[in-house]
Structure formats: C-alpha cells, structure tokens
Subunit: 599 residues, 2 copies
C-alpha cells in the first residue's frame, strides 16, 4: 500500500549515502546548508567494499577536523613489496619501496579501513549538526525545470524529485521534494545518471579479479606490507588491513568465471575456496591460510568509463562511482568519490549563501571530469601492467619488474592524490607570476610545512590553518618583516587592502581569513608590530623559524620558494591555490574575486 505524503522543499537533496554522498552532506551541514540525504539501503555498509584512503584524502579529512579518528581506526600502509618469479618456480622479494612516493605528502601512507567505518566518521560528524541519512528511501521520479529564468535563479527550486520510502512494515510512502540542487551519489548504476540519460564513455577490459578478506596464517614476510606479486601462476595484490586482516586481489582467467553465453561474470562459477587456491598457488613457496574463514569476497571485471557529463544545467550533479568506474587496485575509487564532493560542496554553499552565481558550479565538471579522465588513462596503463604476465626466459615480452616499479613510482603523485591540478577557470586564476613562488602552484593544494606562532612559539602546520571552513585564505608572506624595505611593503599592502575597492571591504569580512607569515627569530620577534589588519588574532602571525626543540619548522620559505620580497597567496576553501602575486598585487586579487564573487 502506498501512502502519499505532503510535498517539501530542500536546498540540496543528496541521493546515496556512500563516500561521495556523506562527504557532501557533512560538508554542507558544516556550512549550515539545508541538506537532506537519502539512501535506498536500510543500513550502512558493514564489511568489504572499497577501503583505501590515499594521502591527499587524509589531508582533506584533516581539513574537516576528521583525520584523528581516521588515523586511529585505520591501518597504515607505509611500504610496498614487489615479488617476482624466481628460478625455482616460486616467487621471491625483488625489493621494497615506500608505498607513497609523493614527497610532499603530509601523511606518507595509505590508510586501509572498511567503507562502513569511513562513512561512520562523516555520519557521526553530521549528526552533531542534526543531519542524518534517511534510509530505505529511493527516488522514483525526477524532473528538472526547462524554464531558463528559473534555472539561473538561485532562489528557485527547479528540481522535483519523487521519493519512495519503505517503512519497517513494508509500506511505501511517497513524497515529492522540491530541491534547489540534487546530487546523485548513487553509485556505478546511478539512477540519477540514468534518469537524465548521461552516458558512460569507455570500455570493459578483459581483466577479471577476485577479492578475498581474511585474517591470515602465513609465513609470507610482507604480510603487513602492500605486496604486489607477479608470479608465473598469476598476479595478486595483498593489502594489510585493520583488525589483523588482509585483502587479496587475485587475477583469474575469464574462462573460469564467465558465462559463455552472455560473456558476463557469473559469481556462481567461482567460490572463495577456489579463489584462495589460486592465491595460494601464486604465493608459492609461501603458505597462506585464513585463520577464521573468508570474511568477505567478490569478483569483478574492470570497467574503465567516465560519464559524458557531471551535471545537468548546474542543478543536478553526479559524483563518485556514478561518474567514473575503474580498477580498484590503485586504491583510487573512494578517494576520487570523496574528492568529487569535497570539490562541489563549498561551491554549492557559496551559491546558496548568495556569495557567488550558479555559473561557478560549471567548474565542478571541468575540474573533476578532467581528473576522472586522467584517472582512467592512468588506470589503463597500470591495470595492464599489473595484469600482464611477468617477463621470464619463456616470456621475454612480459612485464619486467623495473618497468612495473617505474610506473608505480612515476604515478605516485597521481595515486596519492597530491598531484591533482585544477586548470585555469573563473575560480583558478591565470598564473601571472609563474616564477614568483617556485614551489607553490596555482591550481594545486598547499603542501604541508611547519611554522611557529610569533606570539607563543607553538608549531603549526600551515595546512591546519587552511581548514575546510568555506573561507578563502589570504597568506601574507611578508619576507623579513623587520627589514625596513619589507616593513614598507607590508604598510603599502595594508593601505591597499584598506581601500574601498579592496576585496576585504567590497565583500563581508567573514568570507576571508588572513594569516601573516614572516621570516624572523622567535626569541626576538614582536608580533604586535605587525599591522592589526594582518593579525586578526594573536595566533595568526607565524614565523619561519624552528620550534623550541629545534626539530620542527624553519624551512617553509625555502621549501615553498618564497622570495625575500615576499608574496601573497590565496587559497580556496577546499585547499587549492587560486592566485599568487607579489606583495603589491592586491589589485590582481581584487580582480580575481570580482570574477565570480557577489557583493
């Protein structure tokens, strides 16, 4: 029996409470946005599924104040071990290398934690602000207004969604929701994507993989490292996990598992016991047995596809698996998903607060679809190498260890998420001073560096001063503030920032945060000499000096390549650099904000 309920309105309706959905819901709840999130499942994922957190994603968690729990609960993977065939028909260790090869990673490890635990971090966070997932609820209809005026009016509710909610007794209630924006974070088989006929471009590969989760009993020496194993009996990937578990990805022949009639993977043609036997064979001479049975298993064929578009009129968006599917072995899926909605959330908040026009939302697709295409391109190379037969005397055209290792390390910036680069757009300025600050790149995230508070000598990681709090951050690198020439430049900057046309006066101050970073000696510096405008709080003046122990900090200017004459750096709410200028560049910054910001 279906019961019709009343209609309602919401600013943002999120469909799907997987990683992309809950990241977005939590961020919007933090911004105070009127948000609602529904999921057709009646409970969150309990086990299995995606579980790798890349270094950049951990930085993003930290920017939301959520990294502590992630770090406490997750299993850290620091080291990768590469195994290859030896002379006796088994495998042997070729070498070990750091799993994360991006040198600027703040967290130089991957984190393994099951998807349910990751989602719980967001669910618990947003619950403190009263936002919870409405479960057993799915959309059954969606309509987007075709009225051009309505579509560009930020106060309108142009998306009409019909939701079906199942009660415990099986009764289906229907509800019509009018939303300003809808996010389809509803997975690889996205209902929202299909409802708008968005196609997935790309293809299925021939690589078929099985996955096993277990607590191992083994004499394999790298059982607590990520082990990439090429054997003459097939490839496998072994990843350590929380609670003494490991996960193994095992390559299998398609003839073993495909239904010859349909060509589709048929799970009934494979059992976890069979999969385990394949894994055991590829690990010879080492032994591997589950101590307590197989905890979870699955089979998949790698599909490498990207949605043809990520948005419909900037009113309906898709994110996560709804946008891109690829191999899970480089551990990218969940990371790409969460970073999709991290990218989108602050932009939605700006539009809903009236701080920016709807048009800025186009950058979601331009930034994240390009990233997804890069991801697929990488995945093709990587998955092919991974699935390839190892080079041997008999198979001279196989994949060599050197070739694989080089690829693994070359793509380290990409797989860590550190190397993400957003191209020029209304939100990312042209890099008009490309040589000014050598190691800060417009369109990339700010690398971690430690400074000390000028007022109290507390060491601060600059990333911790760039929280995802929906403010643009102005970093004022003064050079040596006590040098008269720099003092004068800083006075000039303050005059410039005090003019009526300055972004600090044109727009409400709450949208901006200012941190001043000087060269200087903590034993002598007087932070009260820094002009008041540049030190909204005593904690906002930093020095490029070591902490009291002499071990932390003091290398920031050199690391970033900040010149003696100083620089201004503006960072977006999501942590990406948008513009870099000299200290007298306030007008360029005014122009940047004038490009998209509403007064």
């Amino acid at each position: 029996m279906a019961v019709q309920s009343a209609e309602s309105k919401v600013d943002v309706l999120i469909v799907g409470a997987g990683p992309a959905g809950v990241m977005c819901a939590n961020a919007l709840s933090l911004a105070g946005v009127n948000v609602r999130i529904v999921d057709k499942r009646d409970a969150k994922v309990a086990t299995g599924q995606a579980d790798g957190i890349a270094p950049r994603t951990t930085e993003v968690f930290q920017s939301y104040g959520l990294a502590d729990r992630l770090l406490r609960e997750g299993c850290r993977v620091y080291m990768a071990a590469f195994y290859n065939p030896n002379e006796t028909g088994g495998i042997e260790l070729s070498n070990r290398a750091p799993d994360v090869t991006a040198p600027s990673a703040r967290y130089p490890f991957e984190l393994a934690l099951h998807q349910g635990a990751i989602e719980a971090i967001f669910l618990d966070s947003m619950k403190t602000r009263g936002v919870e997932v409405q479960r057993s609820t799915r959309p059954t209809g969606i309509e987007l207004s075709t009225d051009a005026a309505e579509l560009v009016d930020p106060t309108s509710y142009p998306v009409k969604v019909t939701l079906e909610c199942l009660s415990l007794d099986g009764t289906a209630h229907h509800e019509v929701v009018h939303a300003k924006f809808v996010l389809g974070a509803d997975g690889a088989h996205s209902w929202v994507r299909n409802a708008f006929g968005i196609t997935m471009d790309g293809e299925q590969t021939d690589f078929i993989w099985g996955v096993l989760d277990m607590v191992p009993d083994t004499d394999f020496p790298d059982i607590r490292n990520k082990s990439l194993i090429h054997s003459n009996n097939g490839s496998c990937l072994l990843v350590p996990r929380e609670a003494e578990r490991i996960r193994i990805y095992i390559q299998i022949a398609d003839t073993d598992v495909c239904d010859p009639k349909t060509g589709r993977v048929d799970k009934d043609r494979m059992s976890p016991e069979q999969l385990l036997k394949v894994a055991q064979k590829s690990l010879i001479p080492y032994t591997l047995n589950p101590t307590n049975g197989i905890n979870w298993w699955t089979l998949y064929i790698i599909g490498q596809r990207v949605a043809s578009k990520f948005s419909v009129h900037n009113r309906v968006f898709i994110a996560g698996d709804a946008c891109h599917t690829h191999s899970p072995k480089a551990g990218q899926g969940m990371n790409a998903s969460m970073n999709d909605s991290h990218n989108l959330a602050w932009k939605l908040a700006y539009v809903l607060r009236g701080w920016a026009p709807i048009s800025i939302l186009s950058t979601y697709e331009s930034e994240r679809r390009k990233y997804a295409l890069d991801l697929i391109a990488f995945d093709k190379i990587y998955a092919t190498l991974f699935s390839g037969k190892p080079v041997t005397k008999e198979n001279v055209n196989g994949v060599s260890h050197e070739q694989f290792l080089k690829t693994y390390q070359t793509f380290g910036g990409f797989t860590s998420g550190i190397g993400v680069h957003y191209d020029r757009s209304v939100l990312v300025s042209e890099n008009a001073h490309p040589t000014l600050v050598r190691n800060m790149v417009v369109g990339e995230r700010v690398a971690p560096q430690n400074f000390v508070g000028a007022a109290d000598s507390t060491p601060y990681n600059l990333q911790d001063l760039l929280p995802s709090d929906f403010r643009f951050k102005l970093l004022v690198f003064t050079g040596d503030f006590n040098e008269p020439i720099q003092t004068r430049k800083v006075e000039g900057l303050v005059k410039s920032l005090e003019r009526p046309e300055s972004f600090l006066n044109k727009y409400p101050r709450e949208r901006f945060d200012i941190t001043t970073i000087s060269k200087g000696n903590k034993l002598e510096f007087d932070y009260l000499k820094v002009p008041q405008l540049l030190r909204p709080h005593w904690s906002k003046v930093l020095l490029d000096d070591t902490d009291v122990s002499g071990t932390i900090g003091g290398k920031g200017y050199a690391y970033y390549g900040i010149p003696d004459e100083g620089a201004l750096v503006v960072v977006r709410p999501d942590g990406y650099i948008t513009i870099i200028t000299p200290l007298d560049g306030a007008d360029e910054i005014n122009k940047y904000f004038a490009g998209f910001m509403n007064a």
Copy 2:
C-alpha cells in the same frame, strides 16, 4: 538525623578526588582493582586552582592513553620571557628562552588547563569502567588494626573507615567500610594524615602572593608566553592559559594582607582590584586590563613542608598535597601529586593480585618522599630568587637576571619531571653495568625515541610501547640481528629465557611484555627470522631505521648508547628502568624478579 547503614568491604578506598585521587582511582580501575573513591565536595573544581602540567606528566598521561584530550584542551606554553627593570623605571625584555629545558622531553612545553578539566579526563576514563566519585562523602573515623599478622596478610581488611554521606536533603548517612588499603589524597589539610598524627616538617615562608585569572587586553608582547617579571615595583609571573585567559601571580608585601594580631593572611585585607593595581604597576610601561572582569583570584603564603611519613604500616597512604606543600610558581604541585599516585597504583595492583608482597609498598615512601624533599629544596632556591628584588644600581645585592636564568635552566630537568630518579630498592636493581647503555639510567624513565616496525615500517615512539598496563616490559636490543655473532647471542638469550628458572616460565606470562629492537634496514629485514619467543606479535619487532619519509627514527641506538653487542632493558609498569644487562644477562633479571615477585 543520622541513619546507620550496613557495613561493606573494598580493596582500596581513596579519600579525595583531586588530581592525586583520580589518577589513582583511574589507574586501579584500569587494573581491575575493586576501588572506591569519595570526596567531601559536592562537585568537582570548576575554576582556578592548580593548572600546570609538566612534560613528564604529559608522558604519564600518554602512557594511560589520556594525552590526546589533554593536548587538545590545554594551552601549550613553549616559551619563557624574562623581563627586568630598564633605565626609565619600567621593565623591558631581557631575553626569551624555551620554557622547557629538558632536552629529552617528548612534549617540549608546559600545558595550562584548569584543574577541573584535568580531573574530568580521569573521571571520564574511569567511568567507562564503572568507577565514579561518591561526592558529599567524608571520613569521620578511621582505625588501623594493630594485629601484626593481619597487617601482613594481603587478604585481610585491616582498615576500618566510617564515612558520612550527605544526601541532597541534608540527611547524613553513615557507613562503615573495611578496606585492605586506604589512600588519603585529601589535600593540604588532609584529614587522613591528621587522623594518624603524621606531622608536616618544614616552615612557612614570608613570601605572600596573589593570583588573578583574566582574559587580558594588553600591549604586553609576551602575553602568550610564560613571562617572569622582575620589576622595581615587585615581581610577577604571567602564564597563558586556555580560552584566551592568563593567570598572574603577584608578589605582595605582608603588611598589606596580614592580620597584625595573628600574623595570618587575611583575604579581606586585599581585593582583586588592588591586586590588579600591583600587577599593572610592575608591568609599566605596558598596560594590562581584564576584558571581562577577574575570573578567579586568591592569596597564599608559601609553606614548604613535607610529611614525616607517607604511609602507616603500608596500609594507609597519603599522596599529593597531603604529603607536600610548596610554591605554585614552578608549576609542580599537581604534577607531584599525580606522579605520587602513578607510583603507588601499580604497586597496589601487584599486591592485590597476589603478584608481590605488601613489603614492596615501602618503596612508595622511599621513592616519593625523597622526590618531595628534593622538590622543597629546589623550591626554596627558586622561590627566594623569584621573590628577591632585582639587582639595580641602588640594590647591588639584588637578584641578577643571569643568576635567575641560570637557576631556571639548571633545574629544567627537575621542573619538567624528566629528571626524576628512583634510588636502588627491591624494585630498582643495582646498576651492575653502568657503562653498558650510556644514556639509559636505572631508576629513570625511558626517553622517547622513534623506531620503525620491521613488519610494516610504521614509526613507533618507544614510549608508546611502554603503556601503564601493569606489565613489566623486556626490551631486547639485539644489535644487528643479521650479524651472525648477534644472531648467536640472541639464540643464546632465547635458550636462557626458555629454561624453567627463567622469569618467563617462573611467573605467568601475562605480567611481561617483550619488544625486540634490532639494527637493520627496513627494505631488507625479515622479521620472521627473529625467534618466535621474542616476537609475540608482528608489531613487536622494531628496527632502528628511518621511516619511509626519512625524517623519523634511525637514531635510537646512538641516542640511548646501545652497544653493538646489544643489551636487555627491563622497564617497570610505571615507565621507570629497573635493570639493564648484556644479552646474556637473563640470570640477573631472574634474580631481580625473584627479589620481590610472587610465583
């Protein structure tokens, strides 16, 4: 109306829920000891009172898994600033120096946090194990058995305490509690101490100080550093605190506040406004005003006294302010108190579990009373210097800045708590190999050093492998395990540890934890080659190598001064080193444990 209730039994009754009491109650609850804690106050301290946590105390918090919250909530004080009279009659900055001068401090800062927040950390922790403070409850009678046989029988309940508990309606209920042990953690005016006629040895000083808490409005440049101010208008000490507050200690003349008849401090003769005026005068030319009134204030005369004994027949103990009173300006009071009961708790647990005889409890007094005497000796020097007039042209015999600074830094090991040294006793062996491990000292705590896990390259601080979990820790420094000569030594050690007379066989294994630390390269080491006895879990084999980032670890052997031929180090449950031997020294360790441990 008083109602008589039934009698009850408890293993440990703690009187007083201040820092010493809750530290002990939490530790005993962790050990699963039947413990009860009562306090005469009806609520915990809300504001004011002691608030400085020294570096060693933070390490102790960490050993109980409680440092995260302390670090999150507390205000870190990294820097000390020294101000002295200048030519114009005001004060000026002489210099700044790290506030903590103990080079091995893991946490190179003092933490300021009000006493109620510190107590809450323990209260919340012990509540998870079902232990809560029974408030509005005080002892009105206490009797200790004089039966010698009963006193040495660990299963007896020789202490009879009568408790009076006030209900909300003012009704007093009485209860008789029979306890195996009683801890009087009931403050400077300890009822328990007085009940047994324990005297306080020492004297009152002539130094009178006032204390003010406020959120300041000021142009004083070191308002967020600890500032030690000697002016011709008096001395004051300024300590930054959490929530934008500061605390000021202000020296005042006894004529201003003492009742001429009794010679006692009379709070009615002083107001916070008068105190503030004294502070303002000593800060000239800087201004200081409370933004929101005075949050808390008090007056005190420094008394420097130590109890003549800390225990009665090892059945009734006193701890904290009940044992020692001294000046608060070196921030030692609360630290000494918590470390008293940290010292006592594991010993009580061992006796109550039947793992050791009651006689080990004598080391509580021998270790902590000596510490208290050292503390008073230090305090006399420090308080005199602090209260002394600064040297000037007119006052050539005054305290010079150099003299004060030198004293401040000389006692850094002491004030940080890092330098605590427990002398030889049944629980601290003679240092039979004093030159074997140069920088580990029997009787002192283990300094922090980073190593990496041999199985997974995770960096670990060795202190985190020495939790306050009531186990003795055996650290096996193997030297380079892959060197044949060291491999043979380790095999010899294992044989020795496997003999029936080995402590590992003589006593239940649950009392011991083993960590093996080898020199070696994380890219090559195979932890499975380490004998099973020395790796109870894959995480228990460490390497003296850097982590994957190359920035953490790799200096442990050199720092501790571990020789190439390796060493064995045993650490007590409270983190203090008890015996150091060569790798073939298992017999010495057997002998050490035979000295006090019950089978």
